[in-house]
Amino acid sequence: MTIVRSLLARREALLVLACLLLLAAITARFPAFSTPKNLAGVFNDTSILIMMALGQSAVILTKSIDLSVAANVALTGMTVAMLNHLVPGLPVFVLILVAIGMGMLLGAINGFLVWWLDIPAIVVTLGTMTIFRGLAFVESGGAWVNAHEMSPAFLELPRTLILGLPVLSWTGLLAIVLATLLFTRTGLGRAFYATGGNAVAAVYAGIDIGKTRFLAFVLSGTVAGLCGYLWVSRYAVAYVDVASGFELDTIAACVIGGVSTIGGVGTVGGVVLGALFLGIIKNALPVIGISPFWQMAISGAIIITAVVINARGERVKGRVILRRKELPL
């Protein structure tokens, strides 16, 4: 009994259970949904969200937030799509390097503003979010880059099958492995947790919290840059409003996955499950025939439920009632 309870207390177990219940409910009406092939499709569909939610979680762990990730996707995606259109001979790996480098630069701009000018992250990224999307408009003049204007290699890479799984899925899996290593096995990962958990204590422990936040933004931007290419290539179209509002999905995945919005708490497993949970819902609701508007309302309700669960989890932690409550920094 206690084992069950302690397992249920873990966010990951709760999420696995929630995902399984969700799948069971859907399968009851549409058995085809739970075939391995379809589930692999759902994972492939959620890969970009998983990657960007992991980047976002690094930022949130340091008690910041990155609202500019979706605009970053739009700007880098538009840039590589136009580059591909204008210089069709350019090899795809060069375009990917451009996307990664550009995303990294955009993330570094966020990180720099937060670090050196000491502006709150929500303000900085709200500003850069608008700027990045504006730049995507400026460079394209508002025009679309359509599938026929992209080279076959550009379009095929994410779809290429390796051992039965598309490259996009493999990228997602690789991101999970790398994030796990980074978060649990490196000093930088530990610094993310320490900076968000207690910034002053982190400074006294010899951690440069400004640099740590900067690197979290660079990481988030880099992932968004890579996803800029993947997005445009996967959906075979680039336009200014690509991934509009997607930054909220990445934050939602983090929150559902148990990442504390005040920093310092969260796991890779939780974030991945949070993203998958959203992914399953997004894929299943149309199958069940629920309108996209209900989908948004349902996603919203789930986010609020997750926040309530997070808050309750934190309350249980503070059960030692006689101790003076510390003010959050």
Partner: protein, 510 residues
Amino acid sequence: MNAMPSTDTPTTEPILKMTGISKTFPGVKALSDVALELRPGHVTALIGENGAGKSTLVKILTGIYQPDGGSIAIDGKEVALPTAEAAQELGITAIHQETVLFDELTVAENIYLGHQPRNRYGLIDWAAMHARAAAILHGIDAPISTRTRLKDLSIAQRHLVAIARALSIDARIVIMDEPTAALSYKEVEELFGIIDRLKKAGKAILFISHKFEEVWQICEYFAVFRDGRQVGAGRLDEVSHNDLVKLMVGRDVTQAFPKLPAEIGDVVLKVDGYCHPTEFDQVSLELRRGEILGLYGLVGAGRSEFCQALFGVTHPSAGTVTLSGKSIAVRSPSDAIDAGIVYVPEERGRHGAITAMSIVSNISLPSLKVTSRRNFLRMAEEFELAREYAERLDLRAASLSQPVGTLSGGNQQKVVIGKWLATLPKVIILDEPTKGIDIGSKAAVHAFMSQLAVEGLAVIMVSSEIPEILGMSDRVIVMREGRMAGVFEREGLTPEALVRAATGNKEAAA
């Protein structure tokens, strides 16, 4: 020292009478069958170690907690305190350790928040609010403009605002929960002046403090709590200092300062002409192996700021630091830790531990360079490090993987100290190591500090408590307004000499 209860008549009836109060939290019996009486025009001291149930009692009295049993009577009439508002309406108010006020609001708004005077349309009557706030501030001799924003006030001035707030609701019972914890010597004197005036106005005051000198200076009655029970109460002039300590800890505290003789070795740390643009100027010192150097001064004398600069948190504008004969440049805490200087900050609760992280991660955090290889953390090494220091410090925890936030306060402190010792420092700076902790835990901290010195560490102890400075230091540096105001050897050092140097007042005495 023994103040004569001036206006006391033995017939003073208690205004507040609590009897048989009990309160249980899941797993903890916080209060059992507790009694307390408060008399108008008198100060009652509430004394007890941390966790004795003082805060719980205050919360019951202010309507935040509901007692499981017992009765509360005001003026002989039994009352219920279901909410904080109900307690306020009955004239009970509390001024807390860390007074809860609002930085961005003006003084008048802070004083009247929640009970703003209204005009006949039900809107806030600003003119009346400022006028009344000014009158209250004038009444306690606080020369503060009611339109100043709270963030522009000093800590002492904020206390005055908090007291004014208490008066604004026409309180008859004022609870002061460690009001002097953040005040300097002079500010404490001012506070006592205000308490005197509150007394004359017939208020009943409950004064919670760890500092016995203060208790004797301003209180007439006392109540001692231990482990959730009231173990003694009565008139202060009928008991001795020792009686109270015995009641409080339930045993004789024979030696408050267990300083062991340590072998004083070579100079470890030499600081020369350390300056900061605003906080301190021309501070120089030498520290030897096995030595405990006391750093005394009033709040705001620049002691913590000096230590933080030494640790690389802030940057000095001039001066040199030599560690073990080698000149070092400390630009960040990370440099200081590498060199072998560590700083245990004053507010260990807020600045020390990362409560969401495990014990292991907290202890290993400053030592990650040592426990990792090629930038990859090695969990086994971290566990070993944590296990070693958990054992040395007698840390009580179910598992080293549990978050520090789930530990008791005392054990959290051990984690914080363990994390610094694990870096194998040469110099350890302890900023107010016993501030706000009870006598029993204080003795443990002092014994531990002494042990560190014996093991060859050089210790700098920043402290505002004279007995602690006198009892623990081999040598004392006194700072005043950012400058060194005197260096004293342990032998023959008197409290008067310390206070004279710290205040710059030739006639001042303790």
